[in-house]
Symmetry: C2
């Protein structure tokens, strides 16, 4: 590795995400993508607003961070390509952004990822490498590829660009609403979206929602120190939120803002998916409905003007039908 | 009836809908409602754009015409209220617009209308009068109410304001796309939306899609003269498109533009609803998916740049589940 890459790496690991970066990401994202709708509705007679990023071209918010990251790569870096590991939506985001910029993308995806996410990633022209979640380390695979080709690894949340990019959803919503929400409720996996939203709305309370048993960000925020998901976590329908360990970058932003966490069950998420289907006219994936479930089940009190992120809609039809039944 | 109302009525029945009215409607609608998304996707390797008016606050395009009509009422007319008859979406549109303007609204709805549409109409503060589709004449009921209270009858399609107002969806889409589509495919009941879209895009081909057995606009366009739906029409899932007779106002616009009609089956519509749920992340009601069904089943060849209207998403959950199953 030459000196230049070492310097880049050092810079990469020390840069903190911030509001100016969110603003720059918003400008870049809004130059190529129309805003996703902000929809207004009531929960127990209180007005709530929802940001439907499930309607992005890839069916999730993840292209925001990917676009911010990839557009900031140098010409030389672009020529060497990018590599990412993801269970689905981040994969699609990186593949989508790479495709638009003419950058070669290699995506490392677990074999048990929803096949619609895998197929969609392939459809954006990315090279797919499947791996076994139980036996192989995806970060290692990605690092091996990167060291061979010189490709840039694009992490799914542990990266200042990714956090800032996801935060563009917050600035976009604020512009649409004409005000900064008092409370933002959002699904949380690694915390990239949650931290980005926190940066985008400096005065808002932040509430993050995780699947039961996968509520490591919640417990980390409560204890003031990062703790991983416990051993043998329960199964969850939220494939997009199965993150075993959050990152100091996302945790520090959320902790410094006094963010609170809640956990929701698959049953509660199914009801939120039904609500979205029937009342908002939207298909949400389980992970994309976690914030809405927290509001519907009053795990988060909707103080003041509340915005909830509907972060994704990529769900197998059979799973959707089963979870929204009844 | 005083002389002034008689003059208004004469003016009402002779005014033709036109592009300037569509433009004015667009300006009024866009002042209070953000544009609904235009989504891009592929059908058999051809790019198609869809206008998702199913995401309007009432779940359908109908608030456009209602808003254009009600905002053009005089102060005296507003004080006397409005009355409308509708199986659902027009009812919601008028109730929504009346509520925003502080106008009293009475809506005459058939007893067999989807209960979600009835409840939603009530939720916008309208007075609901249910009637028996087989035994009573809704137009007569509405006229009786209007003659008693002096309320203005707001027809669901046979009205220049309503046609122009629905056409605002076309201008909105053209502004979002940055070009006028070569072809617009739209569901058709009485033809208010179809005629409005035709006026909004003077150079586009217009294709209208109706349920099988309810394809009276198609047959009228083919024969050059208005014909009603035949006796004992088959049942259809498209409650929003069950119009027995179109109007000279809508027919003349479509005929003069050489519009073509196609008919789609409930099975084809169910597949279109599945496609919308899985690929676009949208809940569509049967009638709202008729245009998409026509494209998916290649009943309309997608020439050039094709825009399809997704006109509504108000569907009973059980109907949605049954039609999108498999």
């Amino acid at each position: 590795m030459d000196k230049c890459s070492l310097m880049n790496e050092a810079e990469f690991t020390t840069r903190k995400p911030g509001f100016p970066g969110v603003m720059r990401a918003y400008e870049k994202v809004s130059a190529i993508l129309p805003p996703t709708p902000v929809m207004s509705f009531e929960i127990n007679d209180r007005q709530v607003w929802a940001k439907a990023d499930s309607l992005q071209p890839i069916g999730a918010f993840k292209l925001r961070g990917a676009w911010h990251r990839l557009t900031d790569l140098s010409e030389a870096e672009r020529a060497r390509g990018v590599v990412a590991f993801s269970s689905g939506n981040h994969a699609q985001g990186v593949a989508w952004a790479a495709s638009r910029l003419g950058i070669a993308a290699t995506i490392v995806i677990p074999r048990d990822a929803p096949s619609i996410k895998v197929e969609a990633t392939r459809s954006w022209g990315a090279e797919i490498i499947l791996y076994d979640r139980a036996k192989e380390d995806r970060a290692e695979i990605a690092a091996r590829i990167a060291s061979k080709s010189g490709a840039t690894v694009v992490p799914s949340f542990d990266d200042p660009w990714i956090i800032e990019g996801q935060g563009s959803a917050g600035l976009e919503a604020i512009k649409q609403l004409g005000f900064e929400p008092d409370l933002i409720v959002t699904p949380c996996g690694g915390g990239g979206l949650a931290a980005g939203l926190a940066l985008s709305a400096p005065h808002a309370q932040i509430a993050i929602s995780e699947p039961e048993g996968w509520d490591d960000m919640k417990r980390s925020l409560e204890g003031g120190v990062i703790v991983p998901v416990g051993p043998n976590p329960p199964s969850t329908a939220c494939d997009a939120l199965q993150t075993l360990l959050v990152s100091p970058l996302t945790f520090d932003v959320l902790r410094s803002r006094g963010a609170k966490g809640v956990a929701v069950s698959d049953g509660e998420i199914g009801m939120a998916m039904r609500f979205a289907r029937n009342t908002l006219g939207l298909t949400l994936e389980p992970g994309g409905a976690a914030g809405l479930a927290a509001l519907l089940y009053e795990k988060v009190e909707p103080v003041g003007r509340t915005l909830v992120m509907l972060s994704g809609g990529n769900v197998e039809p059979a799973v959707f039908a089963a979870m929204t039944k009844g």
